[in-house]
Amino acid sequence: MLSLDALPLAASASNLLAAREQMAFTLGFHIVLSCLGVALPATILLANYIGLKRGDGDALELARRWSKAMAVTFAVGAVTGTVLSFEFGLLWPEFMDRFGAAFGVAFAIEGIFFFLEAIFLAIYIYGWKRLSGWAHFWSGVPMVVTGIGGAFSVVAANAWMNQPQGFTLDAAGKVVDVEPLKVLFNPATGYEVPHMILAAYMVVGFLVASIYAVGMLKGRRDRLHRLGLLIPLTIGLVATPIQLFVGDTAARAVADHQPAKFAGMECIQETGSHQTEYVGGVCTSDGVKGAIPIPDLDSFLVGFSADTKVVGLADIPVDERPPANTLLHLAFDAMVGIGTALLLLGVWFAWVWWKKRDIPRTPWFLRAVAVSGAASILALWCGWIVTEVGRQPWIVQGYMRTSEAVTEADGIWFSFGLVLLVYAALGTIAIKVLRGMSRRWREGAADPNGTPYAPPEGSR
């Protein structure tokens, strides 16, 4: 007979899966929009600056258009970000109850940055008509600073979940003392924060450039398209080599601080030196199948010597191993692979630009740029899979398991289903709206921004 005691346990196991899926989905959706919030302002202001400094009407037109698009993406990002705040309480109330006093500090600071960003974004987006050129430009500068500050605070909170410190627990596990600076500047902040900010600049740079690359492939070779490709592509390509350096540092720090996560993402089974680096493949407890093995490289990457000892999963207690090792491993490889490909794209572009002061003439270059936007978003998602799935089963590394944090509320599967439906509609309509804007600009048609839904002119 089924014991009654087992029921709540079963319910919470089911809740755990539903809550993790919903969190992953809503975060994955929001993170693309938050990249736009972090890095699009700088991209727009660069075009704005070029336009004002050189009297370049095309650059100003690009800045104006991108800011109109940002009005839409920021609105969607503001509400999907709010959903995440609600989810902290709706999905992970025990986590907030026990640790809100510690890691909430980072979010309190984020609140200020988000406030200022929303204010100056509104002034900038709606200031095109009546503010003077340079006053308008400067009204946009706070967006860049607050975007970076906001990213710092939010990612510092996530870094704290990976490397918690700066708090004291009493015998009952309650937080009784907090050192806010230690919370903010935990060991993972130093690499997670720049890694994410650079990722945002890469996503925005390659995403915006890819839109103009598609246009150029369709034969739209005007100056507007050329500039619309060059400005964001430059930003993305400058961020890429720095990102590879930061990412490499991050991976070494993870090997040091979170050996279980590192073993999972590199599919390392047995602890030892001379670890093989596996590219691709499927993780099994007998090792990696179907991968390209590179002897000693993994040890070398971790400690600059093949003799470096790396911890394997066999030495991690079974109930502390991250799940889904193949997913982790492939996500990590995909992220690194895409980053490397984008670096090569930059080398190609820089070489041709140096020689000819022009973008490479072959359509293959435009095709590569055209897929770079989607590729950089994929890399972004893969990076977060590595960070978040790799930290499991912990929500606060070493202190609290995700299963202890989850809500006992009913209906999480239902709410996840609803979220899927609403977000699918949200994403579809947002893309439709942005494509409509782009088409109207191309055709020189006016935006329908008069009255909300007045009857068509002819009918009156």
């Binding site: 006093a101 609140g111 204010i119 009546r130 909300p452």
Partner: protein
């Protein structure tokens, strides 16, 4: 006054700003919803849209501020509220998504039917969101959230007082919005719209007043602790709110004349006091509620001092609040002033 009390005060300041500005934005959606068919509702909707467009996202951030202060300074209270009232809270979150997205898409989507669908989504969710927020607040004030959380998911808020509080939230937002829009219509020189929103402000004030009166009776029945303090320590604030409301009514009921407009020299006496009076009435109610449930965060199961985070965390919240006062408030003032002088807009 302890550090925890100061932190609770900061929470209330956030709630005050959100009620005033976020509340008015929800109210705009309410008037949009009942503005009638496309031809009849065209001009009021256009005015509402012009007023909301540059400011609603900044106003929305006060909600984030409230959530962050609550979970940082009072983590057990945040957890108790969210594990008990997750149904109205989740519905409010859904409403926030639909409202923001509907508003943003309505302006830029093509096709009349698509714009109508987006507009209807915006308007309807502008009513449902404050209703569920009000039901949440009403349930807390009723003492239906146990300190340990996981209270009953439905009976905790499906009671007269929480539902009435939800209705009061909707009516108050509508009232604030109508009063703000009277000023916006005057500035735009649209005298008929000014009259239009004066009528609506009066109607909303009447509904909010009636809801508040029934609310007092229900408060007496369902939340005796809060009621007793409201009519004792909170009495000055209740009187202040009533006086503000009456003064506002007396101004709105004055005849307007027909020659109101930007070029007219005619100005009805007292119109400049409309916004401060409307705000004053609402602020007094919010602080009256705070005084009434003091020293409890969750009457009568969790006191402010029991729920408070360790001191260094509270001090961080103070520092952040000070930074907000120095950086955010002047920036908000700049945004509102640019918006009111029509220096920003589409």
């Amino acid at each position: 006054m302890s550090k925890a009390d100061v932190a609770a005060g900061i929470l209330w300041v956030g709630a005050t700003f959100y009620a005033l500005f976020g509340g008015a934005d929800f109210g705009g959606g309410f008037w949009d919803l009942i503005a009638g068919d496309a031809a009849k509702g065209e001009r009021p909707r256009a005015l509402i849209q012009r007023s909301l467009t540059p400011v609603w996202e900044a106003n929305h951030v006060w909600l984030i501020f409230i959530l962050v202060v609550l979970w940082t300074a009072f983590p057990p209270a945040f957890s108790a509220v969210f594990t008990t009232l997750y149904v109205p809270i989740a519905l409010a979150a859904l409403g926030i998504v639909l409202r923001g997205a509907g508003f943003a898409f309505r302006k830029s989507i093509e096709g009349l039917s698509a714009r109508r669908a987006a507009g209807a989504t915006f308007a309807l969710s502008s009513v449902l969101t404050p209703f569920f927020m009000g039901a949440t607040v009403g349930a807390i004030a009723s003492g239906n959230v146990p300190a340990g959380g996981n209270g009953d998911a439905f009976s905790s808020w499906l009671e007269p007082l929480p539902l009435l509080t939800g209705a009061m939230f909707v009516a108050t937002g509508a009232y604030l919005s109508a009063v703000f829009l009277v000023g916006d219509a005057r500035r735009a020189g649209e005298a008929d719209l000014e009259r239009y929103f004066v009528r609506r402000a009066l109607a909303a004030a009447a509904v909010a007043g009636v809801a508040a009166a029934i609310g007092l009776v229900e408060l007496h029945a369902e939340a005796r602790y809060v009621f007793d303090r409201l009519v004792d320590q909170g009495l000055p604030l209740v009187i202040l709110s009533t006086l503000c409301g009456l003064a506002l009514l007396s101004i709105l009921l004055r005849p307007m004349g027909r020659n109101v407009g930007p070029d007219s020299t005619y100005r009805p006496i007292g119109r400049v006091f409309l916004r401060p009076l409307a705000a004053g009435a609402v602020v007094a109610v919010i602080w009256g509620w705070g005084v009434a449930q003091f020293p409890y965060l969750l009457p009568t199961s969790l006191r402010i001092d029991q729920a408070a985070a360790p001191d260094p965390t509270l001090v961080t919240v103070f520092v952040v609040f000070a930074a907000a006062a120095v950086l955010v408030l002047p920036s908000l003032a700049l945004l509102y002033s640019l918006s009111q002088r029509d220096l920003i807009g589409e």
